[in-house]
Symmetry: C2
Subunit: 223 residues, 2 copies
């Protein structure tokens, strides 16, 4: 509608992107069952047939949207983790460094959020609450690999702790991370105005601290 034949890049891709962004927004707000092809098309100012044309089905559209949102965060996590390892030059990492690399990239992505890329916190939380079939597989595909990496790093910090303890505490750490992200929008109401929910940086910093303490002291008191 804007770009014409003078545009070098494919002009029609814009619709696809608008659909993806709309799907992300509505999925975060209403979940998979609450998202309808009609609402996505309306939000993206596109036709309902266009959505089916680009993705084939509702399932495929939401899956593609999730992939585009999650992948860059995981890449950034590994980037920060490797940075920290290089700085440590062979010495074991601290749990704070490890959880920083895990959680900080989410904060970065939330802070980037504009009107089109919004409510990442709710979106991430959704993928864990929704029991829909493809979300389960999606989660395994995106998180099981990175969970292995983080388990390995944490077991290097506590070489004497049994695998069971590492897994338990990592599970609680990840669960807390997701819970905090999902609940962030409620912070202002919950704290009766004492804490501002728009300060994402403060939330991420405090969350990393909280989780590091829970993990560290839980392991340290035993090993």
């Amino acid at each position: 509608m804007i770009a014409t034949s003078t545009d070098v890049s494919k002009p029609k891709v814009a619709t696809r992107k608008r659909l993806i962004d709309a799907a992300a927004r509505l999925f975060a707000l209403h979940g998979y069952n609450g998202l309808t092809m009609r609402s996505v098309a309306l939000d993206a100012q596109a036709n309902i047939a266009a959505a089916n044309y680009h993705f084939g089905s509702k399932d495929a559209m939401v899956l593609e949207m999730l992939r585009e949102r999650v992948q860059p965060i995981n890449e950034r996590r590994l980037e920060l983790l490797n940075q920290a390892k290089n700085n440590q030059a062979g010495r074991p990492l601290t749990t704070h460094q490890i959880f920083h690399s895990l959680i900080f990239p989410i904060g970065e992505e939330i802070s980037k959020s504009t009107k089109s890329r919004c409510s990442l916190a709710q979106l991430v939380a959704r993928t864990f609450t929704e029991p829909v079939h493809f979300i389960e597989k999606m989660h395994q595909r995106f998180f099981s690999q990175i969970a292995d990496i983080y388990y390995l790093e944490l077991s290097l910090v506590y070489p004497n702790a049994p695998a069971r303890e590492i897994y338990w505490h990592l599970h609680l750490a990840v669960s807390s991370m997701l819970g905090a992200l999902a609940q962030h929008r409620r912070l202002n109401d919950f704290s009766r105005g004492h804490c501002a929910e728009n300060d994402v940086g403060a939330m991420i910093t405090r969350l990393i601290q909280f989780i590091t303490h829970g993990f560290d002291r839980g392991i340290k008191t035993q090993f």
Copy 2:
């Protein structure tokens, strides 16, 4: 179909209870939008018109279901909290005692779960992820009052900590609690079999520890 005129108690109430239980199960599994009156009626072995007769609408049915599930937990929380206060005889509580009273009742309720009262963990988590209108109001009605009580108790433990710090850490504690409950079903997969998800007691004990450490150390390092 079972109870006849020989039954002293009202026999027809059973249908209502079956509907409530089915609604709880399906709401936990599929969320508000994924729950349909048809699926509830089918699951409860009742007719679809019966559901509308008893509750008037889908909204009212789910609301009533939530009320019946949440209220006993909150009552038990206050019971444990008052027990602890009586045992302390005026001395301030420990954060562990406070968070125990907050979290332990959920474990009790999950352990009670039979086929009819199942998946409370997912149900509680749903009420925080679902952005549906009445859930927001519901949550405020049920949680804001008890949050005030817990804020007060925690501020007595750390009288020198500013309200802002108490609120921040309480928010993180509650978020972690909800996150851990929501993620509990994933524990077995996540830990690659190292942790059994059916051991609810162990989960609750570890969760209380984790949150107490995160809260305590976060406040103590400053005050």
